[in-house]
Subunit: 275 residues, 2 copies
């Protein structure tokens, strides 16, 4: 490729605060001539944009945003398409590949792709409420704008039944309020009403707000587009206002670090025949 | 609390390369007088450790590591307990709370807790192979050292049946080789053998190695303790050597961004009665 070939950085800037954006993400933005992003995310990095062309678009214009970024980079510009969190987790990375495919792009052609990972909303939110994601978890988006509700329901049911910690993205919006009620109903069928639930809004941003509540009553709190909902597994507990999912050390070791009778370090957990 | 009260930072340093550790993580390490961590992770930040006391421990000494960190911080030191990836995702954060609970700690007492999120192995690995995690996914650890295999199996079955993208942590080790074979068998019952699978080892470290393969043949490749396995959903496709899970825009919009007949932007996806 020529020296002036286009580059498309697909960048996750993390939750929003500068302290949680990686050097790699900042370097990509610094190197770019053109920044493309949803207006709210562009604002989060506004201090880095002097002298750059900025293409801001609205929330529902994801396809236009991806197309604009690909087209400018294909024409030779260095472009950073930014997502909050990680661009690869419910972010713009998927759409970039869809647009590249639709336009017949081949690997080796311009633009060169550079995907820069970021801190996910799940990680950011979890860090504010304790350690809810220390064992197996699922991420499920409740938005049925692009996904059939029947599939979302099937995933909720499976995650609930198999005792995953569940992180719910896009739980509700102004118009979309039914899905989180359905999700509560499905999870409640499989878990006690006392199961810990955390609601985290705008993690590491100005209006950050975290609530620790439970499966029976979390719908009494405000839940909107900027809320991430973390629902504990049946092992998750609350300790001094923190939400914690144990990794399972207690199955094998005592509090003093002694191996429990019948167990061996480095070997499969021995489960009693009759429980 | 007095000015000299202890602080316990629980820090995720991301995949390893400096470019992917956040300013917040680096600031925590810089502020700490004592660094506690598994020897491999301590090495990743060795350039930041001048003048600090370093407590390195082996892989299987997680409980001792957490206890050492809590005890030193409780006694008044500023301590950083470091994990690779995110300390809250299969990391040390859970064990810290277990130790705090066992020792009768109360919120407001020393040490003060500060959990610093990091880029997860899932995000790091995904960014190297494309955009596999753009829609609903599960994280499952195949280690049965602390978790009954029956529960792991139940989660694999649920995740496979409900068509989640699946990220497998701890897929195998020298002694533990049966679990990944079982996981393949379970996933294969629900998905075609051509389902894309990515194996990523040591993402963003010196020995980084990524392979894009499929569900039928991925066991032919080397899989060890440092490998993360990403298994696509039935929607995941391979494009120009990248692994991509679509978000679902194609359900509602044409490649030109036109709304498909019968669909409305901002409203639930309309699924035909008969498919």
């Amino acid at each position: 490729m020529p020296a002036d070939h286009g580059i498309l950085y697909v960048v996750g800037i993390g939750p929003g605060a500068q302290a949680h954006a990686t050097p790699a993400a900042l370097a990509a933005i610094a190197d770019a001539e053109v920044i493309v992003g949803y207006v709210t995310y562009v604002k989060l990095v506004s201090h880095l944009l002097a002298g750059k062309e900025v293409v801001r678009t609205g929330m529902t214009e994801e396809i236009g945003r991806a197309r604009a970024a690909v087209e400018r980079a294909r024409a030779g510009a260095k472009v950073a398409l930014i997502s909050s969190g990680d661009a690869g987790v419910y972010g713009m990375a998927g759409l970039v590949f869809q647009v590249l495919r639709d336009t017949g792009w081949r690997r080796g052609e311009a633009p060169e792709l550079r995907i820069v990972p970021g801190i996910t909303a799940l990680s950011a939110c979890a860090s504010l409420v304790g350690a809810p994601l220390v064992h197996d978890f699922c991420a499920i988006s409740l938005s049925d704008l692009l996904t059939p509700w029947a599939l979302i329901e099937r995933r909720l049911e499976a995650a609930a039944a198999a005792d995953f910690v569940v992180g719910l993205y896009n739980p509700a919006s102004g118009r979309r309020t039914r899905q989180i009620v359905e999700a509560q109903r499905i999870l409640r069928r499989h878990r006690p009403g006392t199961t810990p639930v955390a609601l985290v809004k705008s993690a590491y941003r100005k209006l950050e707000h975290a609530v620790l509540t439970d499966l029976d009553t979390f719908l009494d709190h405000e839940i909107g587009m900027l809320t991430t909902v973390l629902v504990g597994s049946t092992s998750t507990y609350v300790f001094e206002g923190y939400m914690v999912t144990p990794r399972g050390y207690g199955n094998k070791y005592t509090a003093d670090g002694e191996v429990r009778p019948g167990q061996r370090p480095g070997h499969s957990l021995v489960v009693p025949e009759v429980e």
